[in-house]
Symmetry: C2
Subunit: 429 residues, 2 copies
């Protein structure tokens, strides 16, 4: 197996042999708009260095490349390098606008083109049927935990069903108790949230307005591989897809509502995406805060009040990148490949590493694992960080390790982690 020692050398700007683009830090005195005295600020950016010595240029390039790490954080999480570089190039002036995206009126034609393209690209990616609305909101999935019952239940007495497969579906269930009568139709708590139930085991209420699942539990690493059908023929399936959104194709028509915080697979934190079937819009309870009313946002194309413009712009860049990769079919293949080599490394370690999760429902996105010698966990994390692989510590509620390998994690990152795991095992077995 060939593993790059420079995590991101595959991404350095390169133009034939004699012209190497290497990043350089320049320190320049800057005259500030307020006529303050000069002060130096650091401007770091890619500068074209003309050199006759490709080795020297490569050495410089590698020195910079090592500035970036492989980030296994569960979210906010790694973003595609091409997206970051494009965002950097456009930060000061978005082409043709004379200003940063962060400065644009949300009602101006420039930002409208940005949000409309983001929605259009997302519709293409997920093949969202026309009878669904796409909303770009704020407040994270946690806000949706309240918005869902407020919009989908006519009264606080309406019954709804929750499948509790981990921390996030449990939080969603608890918040819903304020606004409807939620019922837990299955809980994985007794087995430490390591399973997804056979759908026949779900004790669904035939009157439930909706059946709620968390499609991928970020903390516990269990993922639905297919989806249950609500028992109530007038009920709908609702899914929190925060941590596997756009990681694979999904048949949107099976769902009434899909919602996701952007900060795992598709953007920075601060954007929440809601995909909702239009007939479910417009029935909010009377005491619904205006910001939680889907009708308000749908009628105003997510521009009722000022949306999180820059985050939406970033999501748009990611959608474009996913389409350029060939869409979600191709993205899923890459994610399967990455997960496969990581789970194989765990399963092939003779018990040195362990995955607590039932094999058939292991997440392609979040891979929790433990060390048989748990006293080595701190050392593992420390050594990995030295090798520029960070954020491998498991969630504080479950301990152990967790490698989040979202869309933007390159194969090379997982390969490097697996090589490190084998080396660590060889030294500590």
């Amino acid at each position: 197996m060939s593993i790059s020692t420079s995590p991101h050398s595959h991404f350095l700007l390169r133009k034939q042999n004699q012209n190497h683009f290497v990043p350089k830090t320049v320190s320049a005195p800057v005259s500030l708009p307020s006529s303050r005295p000069f002060r130096p600020i650091k401007i770091k950016c890619a500068t074209q260095i003309q050199t006759q010595d490709p080795h020297a240029a490569r050495a410089q390039a590698q020195a910079h490349a090592q500035e970036r790490v492989f980030n296994f954080a569960a979210g906010p999480a790694i973003l595609p390098e091409s997206v970051l570089l494009r965002a950097q190039s456009e930060l000061y002036v978005w082409p043709g606008s004379g200003m940063s995206v962060m400065e644009m009126s949300h009602r101006g034609k420039e930002f409208k083109s940005i949000i409309e393209k983001a929605e259009s690209d997302l519709r293409t990616l997920l093949q969202i049927p026309p009878e669904y609305s796409v909303l770009f909101l704020q407040g994270g999935a946690t806000s949706q935990f309240a918005a869902l019952p407020l919009n989908l239940c006519a009264a606080a007495t309406d019954p709804v069903d929750y499948v509790v497969t981990g921390s996030w579906s449990d939080k969603a269930f608890k918040e819903a108790q304020k606004f409807c009568k939620p019922n837990v139709v299955w809980s994985g708590k007794a087995e430490k949230y390591t399973k997804i139930p056979p759908f026949g085991e779900l004790k669904q209420n035939p009157d439930a307005k909706y059946l709620h699942i968390c499609a991928n539990e970020t903390i516990h690493g269990v993922e639905f591989k297919n989806y249950p059908t609500p028992k109530n023929p007038n009920g709908v399936l609702v899914a929190d897809m925060s941590s596997n959104f756009c990681s694979k194709p999904v048949d949107v028509s099976k769902f009434g509502v899909i919602y996701a915080g952007a900060q795992k697979n598709v953007g920075p934190s601060g954007v929440t995406i809601v995909i909702i079937r239009n007939d479910l819009i417009g029935h909010a309870q009377g005491l619904t805060p205006v910001m939680f009313d889907y009708k308000i946002h749908a009628e105003n194309n997510s521009l009722y009040n000022t949306p999180p413009c820059y985050g939406i712009y970033m999501c748009g860049l990611v959608f474009e990148d996913l389409l350029e990769q060939g869409g979600l079919v191709e993205v899923e293949k890459k994610n399967q490949k990455k997960a496969e080599i990581l789970y194989n490394a765990i399963d092939g370690s003779n018990g040195f590493y362990k995955s607590p999760v039932e094999k058939s429902v292991r997440s392609l996105m979040n891979v929790p694992f433990t060390l048989e010698k748990s006293e080595l966990e701190g050392e593992f994390i420390k050594e990995a960080a030295k090798e520029k692989m960070v954020q491998l510590k498991g969630h504080r509620s479950v301990g152990g390790m967790r490698a989040s390998i979202y869309n933007a994690m390159p194969l090379a990152g997982v390969q490097k982690l697996v090589a490190f795991m084998k080396d660590f095992q060889a030294r500590h077995a």
Copy 2:
């Protein structure tokens, strides 16, 4: 009066005479992480050009400088150029972290240092007393319209008072009707929201839990120059300061709650800042969504769920910039100067331009004005845009023009607008 024809030439990176930093666009083939075929992406950034010809360099620099416009938008709005350049320089890798701020775990030490510094700098700027909490939230002021009564009223029957001086205080009042018994103690509607009332005219309820004001009405351009006192000795003053937040010193101790969307004076959209006296925290109504409960956010230092990390980082850069300018006393002086020359130009136009707002309460931030010959408004906006002054159209609800001249609008921008107004008048009087 000397006016630069190049809006931002005062800001070009410059280092003595022989070294000119001029921005340059380079097009480089980039190898993408997914091993896709090379494709060219544009990286635009400041590149050091060694030249013996300062004139040529200056010409290049001016050509680039003209890419940026003076943006008079009401929000999202102009940001300080130094802040944008710093953000650009740090976007790909935040120094020492190996990743972008957008990729950082909100629970990691790097982001904690960012949010803690942002809070600390804001506390310094506004001299926030220690018995107040600072919260970085999502959802805009519109979310606070609901959160305020949900947190400050024990029951939906509690009376509260609203001063309605424009569209925003009216929206706040209407949303509060869902969660308490709000009473309009004064309305400027009959006079088209051009006044702030003498405080003696406020028909306050002695039992009102709070007295709500909008400190600066973004659409109508009226601004409180001092603040009323709640009649109820146990009540508190609550202010929406979205559009004049950090534009001048404020005695925070006069308020129970100050809240502000960041996207006018202190950052991009997607961040809402709440400054709240600690004894007001912890009394939310039972049906308060968890995301609207100040206690949850205060106890978790704004990290209960994933906050809008990048927006908070940007606010932090702005706070740092405001402190470097000498703090809010100095900032207010600049804002007064800018507003003075703009209002003088309007008042000195022999009625060609008109400000509808009563002189004593004119906003230093948002300056609506009309043309006596209203048929020329379209032409005014079109010609201004050609001169790289954009977003001067008044809000659709009131028409006319509006120049928003927030902290980040340089004096040169207002000077250029005033010169244009005089020239336009000379040609069309």
